[in-house]
């Protein structure tokens, strides 16, 4: 243990105002952000330095059902108004980045897929893309594999946003919405089960391509999805979008400005809700996103309603992309025919000793990846999911770091909640849509 560990580690919990220095307090109320005069004035109706007898610090979570897992918030309240908020995380930390250093590049997919468990295929995709860049084979992935990756990625975006519809509805009291959202998500997961064998945590997208070809009848299944879901989305519009109670609960709640969102590093629907049209699929295209036609949905107010509406319409845009993929899906290999990363076909193992040895070695030792370091970022349903891999030339990553969008986005919570009502806190958490498996990793 080095000398640096013997330090005052500092408490994680929120402290009372009298224990804080002025600088800490300014940070907690968001003054360090580049805020315009007008925005600062809007917050002016909050007391500058309330009497400590009149405020109260309460815990929300980690076992609160609306915190989407084990998120703990400490809220300073004056009556019903939230003055300060501090998220406390780490309750689901399982050291997945350390585990990632023990697993080979072949096995790594099983690890990263469990981080953001609502969009596992996007996590696998970013890990595979980073590995392929290190191997220098990122330009040689067969066309069919690339389009299959896009198909799965977009369907995953749909399933993730459909689950958001369910939880957002449930958190705000639209309980029937919970049943509907889960039902539609299950339709998509049924397709994943048919293709990958598993509903979640697929380990299907692997370095070099995907694990298997699409099963017979896949096109009909996707077409059926594309037929069923638009009708259901129209039902959501009736049930929620146009409904006055729903709008009252969400409009003007949890507002964040473009400057704040950029300064805090927020990405995905949170950044887009403020009017910043930033979508990695369009702006830094990967796979073949530059060959399909879709719109980037942006909001204008940066409130919880915008974030809801963006996700609802992103499901429609994803379906538009899926339809285009169906038209162009080429025949061919579903993984690269590079002996280094691809195991030999099953039939060869029965007849060739070399193939058997090759198969054994690739699954026990893994394949060696050249030295270097690389960062790849893609658009997951929650924002930019990035993968930074440093390789020392061995079959395991020397360091594997995942930039989790929820981990960064959760920093927006204090800024969204300040000055709002404690009843709206639930709506704000829900609109950020954090996945705690990814926050804590």
């Amino acid at each position: 243990m080095s000398a640096t560990t013997i330090r005052d580690e500092g408490a994680q919990e929120m402290r009372t105002r009298s224990e804080l220095t002025a600088r800490e307090l300014l940070r907690e109320v968001g003054s360090v952000l580049r805020m315009s005069e007008a925005e600062a004035a809007k917050l002016g109706d909050l007391p500058d330095d309330p009497d400590e007898d009149q405020t109260m610090i309460i815990n929300m979570g980690p076992q609160h059902p609306s915190t989407h897992g084990v998120l703990r918030l400490m809220l300073e309240l004056q009556g019903e108004t939230v003055l300060r908020c501090k998220p406390i995380i780490g309750y689901l930390h399982t050291g997945m980045e350390k585990t990632g250093e023990q697993l080979t590049f072949m096995q790594g997919g099983t690890n990263v897929t469990r981080m953001d468990y609502l969009s596992p295929l996007n996590n696998e995709l970013v890990f595979s893309m980073a590995t392929e860049q290190l191997l220098g084979i990122d330009g040689d992935i067969p066309e069919r594999a690339v389009w299959m990756r896009m198909l799965l990625s977009e369907l995953n975006r749909m399933s993730s946003h459909l689950l958001f519809m369910a939880t957002n509805g449930m958190d705000l009291g639209a309980v029937s919405m919970m049943i509907y959202g889960w039902r539609e998500r299950e339709e998509v997961l049924r397709f994943f089960q048919k293709v990958t064998g598993l509903r979640m945590n697929h380990n299907f997208i692997r370095p070099g391509g995907v694990a298997a070809d699409l099963p017979p009848g896949w096109r009909d299944d996707v077409l059926r999805l594309l037929e069923v879901i638009p009708e259901r989305l129209d039902e959501y519009d009736i049930l929620m979008t146009g409904q006055p109670i729903w709008r009252e609960r969400l409009q003007g709640v949890g507002v964040i400005t473009p400057d704040e969102a950029l300064a805090l590093g927020a990405t995905g629907p949170i950044l887009r809700s403020t009017g910043v049209a930033w979508d990695l699929r369009r702006d830094l295209p990967y796979l073949h996103y530059d060959q399909v036609d879709f719109d980037v949905i942006v909001g204008s107010y940066g409130d919880a309603f915008d974030r809801y509406a963006i996700r609802l319409n992103e499901i429609r845009e994803s379906m538009k992309i899926v339809r285009q993929i169906l038209d162009v899906m080429p025949m061919g290999d579903y993984r690269i025919q590079n002996k280094k990363v691809t195991p030999p076909p099953r039939a060869r193992i029965d007849e060739s000793m070399e193939a058997l040895i090759h198969h054994f070695k690739i699954f026990t030792e893994g394949f060696k990846v050249p030295e270097g370091e690389v960062y790849v970022g893609i658009e997951s349903p929650r924002g930019e999911v990035g993968c930074y891999i440093a390789s020392d030339g061995s079959p395991t990553p020397y360091r594997m770091h995942v930039r989790a969008p929820s981990f960064v986005n959760i920093q927006c919570l204090p800024h969204m909640m300040r000055g709002g009502l404690v009843a709206d806190a639930v709506a704000v958490i829900s609109s950020v849509d954090p996945v705690l498996g990814e926050v804590d990793r």
Binding site: T4, E9, G10, G95, V374, Y375, G377, F407, Q411
Partner: protein, 174 residues
């Protein structure tokens, strides 16, 4: 707005061109990605200058413990140290990325915080402190973020052993 030009093919005479520099920092190319190697003392100034140039968002901040891999390739003039803080910046106007790798020595694992330039690095710097024990000076909330407050050690360091759970097999005598 200065353009990043890594094209060194113009040196026809066969003389090695001077290593390219951005803001006085050596630049390297990692699989087509631009990487800057600023010194620890100039790191915040370089990030500030890049922010003025358009890199307005800090996408990611992490660190690597190179204890077992000190012979990694680095450009001329960069002395390898045990720790490296890795910052990924994003320019959403010109749609480009840049990466900074800052060497941090093991016996003085301290670096300035980026909080004043990019407030979004707060949680990421806390994570790096938690996992590697690199201290960020002037960080507003220098506490652990993922591990419990009273945890001893920094798990992502290479000399931090991974734990083992004893496995009992059915019918075994031990």
């Amino acid at each position: 707005m200065s353009e990043i030009d890594l094209d060194t093919s113009s040196d026809i005479g066969g003389m090695p061109a001077a290593p390219p520099e951005i803001h006085g920092c050596p630049v390297s190319d990692s699989r087509g990605q631009v990487v800057l190697h600023p010194g620890r003392d100039r790191y915040v100034d370089v990030v500030k200058a890049l922010a003025d140039e358009g890199y307005a968002m800090c996408a990611d901040l992490t660190a690597v413990d190179y204890l077992e891999y000190m012979r990694r390739p680095l450009p001329v003039g960069v002395h390898p140290e045990r720790f490296e803080v890795v910052v990924n910046l994003l320019d959403i106007t010109d749609r480009r990325r840049i990466r900074l790798r800052v060497q941090v020595p093991a016996d003085d694992a301290v670096i300035a915080s980026l909080f004043d330039v990019h407030p979004g690095t707060e949680a990421m710097e806390r994570e790096v402190y938690d996992m590697f024990g690199i201290v960020f000076t002037d960080h507003p909330d220098p506490s652990r973020i993922l591990m419990p407050e009273d945890w001893i050690g920094h798990p992502l360091r290479k000399d931090y052993e991974i734990g083992k759970i004893p496995v009992q097999f059915k019918g075994s005598h031990s």
